[in-house]
Symmetry: C2
Subunit: 427 residues, 2 copies
């Protein structure tokens, strides 16, 4: 991981400017700069690089020789200043599986499943947390904090722990026990906030300001999307730079769709790919403000309630809405919603056909793909990639609801034989 010298300085494309996604105003990438002064919290910032320099460093040849099988293989177009600040946990370069059976069942040319549950703390959020912790260290900070429905939190606490930082994590009180336990195991200071994600977010923001901690909220911190973008870069490289026609991913805050878009856009600017995949954001019906803005063709997103079993995307106030809308619109993608039942039934179908066990939000992208395919909204010659954003072990209670019961049997072969016969008769 990382490269030879500690401070490379000269030979990488440092982040040059931060640019507001709404008004285009530019800022230096300094500590404490999170959003646009003019647009406030809505004005999240893009990280832009010296592309002239980056083109020399990030090439198909250089990558084909790169033995760093982690997201840091794209380090030359990532915002971390000091290699020593890169956390020593192997993130990214998660498997991308072709699935012919599902492609045939749902009538698309090719289907690929990207299993981002294979990251260190078992979700795609690790890509963002790794960058967040590195930036905290770049800026000399000792404490990091975030609000999270769970995955960003466990991820941040894991990366903070390994790099010796303190972490404060604000989670809504309804966060699944598995996720909260993971935080405590990593030694985070965990604050269960009485209320929903929006309340947790607001308290985190207030505490971060009051105590001067480093802010890892993905929808606020411009550098974190730069971690998430590597998921798109890996998809492209793993497909030998022939990007899919369409990518499905679940949408909560909007950072993941925003990250995919940024990744593909960087690759386009580097000349490594020649088209932008249609980015298709999938939301749960009970938490779908991005979907509503897309279908109603609104310029802004109206915040609303959030109620879905897929806790990781149960977000009524998606703070990164501007990047999300841009990602979907600029890529000519779309948004779709699925019910909680559709999410739950996607868990065993995906696991049984691909071996990938996702949490509810993890398989929501697949549920959306399935729904659009069955509605005839995907052309049969399309190549599709579905991103699974988190491991099913994160939320066993929901997974339980998606499947039947085990057989119970005495340790006796005759009783077992009778049970099996009975079962066959029932079928």
């Amino acid at each position: 991981m990382g490269t030879d010298s500690l401070l490379r300085g000269e030979d990488m494309a440092r982040p040059e400017i931060l640019k507001c996604v709404l008004c285009g105003r530019e800022y230096a990438p300094e500590h404490g700069r999170y959003v646009c002064d003019s647009c406030g919290l809505d004005g999240t910032l893009d990280v832009l690089y010296d592309m002239h320099e980056a083109k020399k460093l990030v090439t198909k040849d250089s990558l084909s020789l790169c033995r760093d099988m982690s997201m840091w293989r794209y380090r030359d177009i990532m915002p971390v200043l000091n290699d020593a600040n890169i956390p020593a946990l192997s993130v990214g370069w998660t498997p991308l599986y072709e699935n012919k059976w599902l492609a045939s069942k749902y009538g698309v040319r090719k289907l690929y499943i990207k299993d981002d549950g294979r990251n260190p703390t078992a979700s795609l959020k690790d890509r963002a947390s790794a960058v967040g912790v590195a930036k905290a260290l770049d800026f000399g900070q000792k404490t990091v904090a975030c609000a999270s429905t769970g995955n960003a939190a466990s991820s941040l606490s894991g990366f903070a722990a390994v790099m010796g930082l303190d972490s404060y994590i604000f989670v809504p009180e309804k966060a699944p026990a598995a996720k909260v336990t993971q935080l405590l195991v990593y030694g985070a200071n965990v604050v269960l906030v009485k209320g929903d994600y929006a309340k947790a977010f607001d308290l985190a923001t207030a505490a971060i300001e009051k105590f001067g901690w480093y802010n890892r909220n993905c929808a606020i911190n411009p550098f974190l999307v730069e971690g998430k973008k590597t998921c798109a870069m890996e998809i492209a490289e793993q497909l030998n730079w022939e990007v899919p026609d369409r990518v499905f991913i679940s949408v909560g805050d909007g950072c993941c769709v925003g990250g995919l878009y940024k990744g593909f856009r960087d690759l386009l600017e580097l000349g490594l790919i020649d088209k932008m995949p249609k980015i298709t954001g999938v939301q749960a019906e009970g938490s779908s403000p991005i979907y509503k803005a897309i279908t109603e063709n609104s310029e802004r997103v109206r915040f609303g309630p959030a109620d879905t079993i897929a806790d990781s995307i149960s977000v009524g106030a998606p703070r990164n809405w501007a990047k999300a809308l841009r990602a979907i619109r600029a890529s000519e993608g779309t948004a779709v919603t699925v019910t909680d039942d559709e999410i739950l039934s996607a868990i065993p179908e995906l696991a049984r056909s691909s071996g990938v066990f996702g949490e509810p939000a993890g398989v929501t992208g697949f549920a959306g793909f399935r729904k659009m395919a069955l509605a005839g909204e995907i052309a049969p010659d399309e190549t599709v990639t579905v991103v699974v954003t988190g491991n099913g072990l994160k939320d066993i209670e929901s997974a339980k609801r998606s499947v039947g019961q085990a057989l119970s049997c005495a340790p006796d072969i005759d009783e077992f034989s009778r049970l099996i016969d009975q079962r066959r008769t029932d079928k």
Copy 2:
């Protein structure tokens, strides 16, 4: 994954013979051959290859060029006949992290953590299941079965699902819900056996014989240890062929220590390493028949009760005892026990210092390392590798017992500030 041709035949070191670990009697590697005719269930079999052929294929050079970042990079010295039967789930090549902080704290020269919880179904057992499913297909079988305390089961069901095989899984009724749910998600036929692991094992054996299924019980099927051995091979290759002085791993059935030993022994025979690490098996105090046999210097293992929080190694009747004793003795290693409290406290310590969150059996190797180091039983110039065998998300209930509580707070910055002040005062 895999290589170009489907049936390579000529250019790999096929398994030549199966040889009884007790009496040395040899058998052809045919379908249905699990153990030695003379020695019965105790006589588990080693898989031996044409080492003359293997030496030409498995070299430092060939491996340094190999881009298959999975355990199948050692495919030329693995028993699978047909590449098409290799399951399309990326197993192995899990991270090996150096940890200077822990090395210094516990007074060893170097400490490496191998995180095998990063496998597809989140445990080391995936290495065995991948081979088991491939061998079932090599032999034209349609149904696989095993008894398991949990991990082998979820692993087998995942790999069977992705390759279109039916699976029957026999688990003791006390197996953690997370593991049982994972089985059901993958579509396995799950049989909760009223009794302990030994009862589940016996019923599985009877059912496998009665219905003619392929037997994935690791302690019976000689090919499965060939999957587990790749963990040792990766440790060696990741350390640039300078193997550690000592390797710690938890012991249940005895297959993992047996697998490590086989992997290092194959590498020695191939001339890729020049010494055998001391293999140190760690058992839970309440389930320690291997430990007893080693300390009492017995030729055989006396089966006994099993009671530990570390369900994956709660095995009173370790079926692969012969390979386990040989691994520890021939490597000049040792066995050690740890209490359940020592196992539980190892979970947060390992997570906070390395970012690796293990289940109870997963961190038992680390708990044993810690205990021996604190007792002064490891020389300060030793290099040590600890294998973490399974992910902590598999057993959240145990993890909960290893940590304190989260703070609960209204969404109000003043209340939060008071809480923080209170906490600081308490400390």
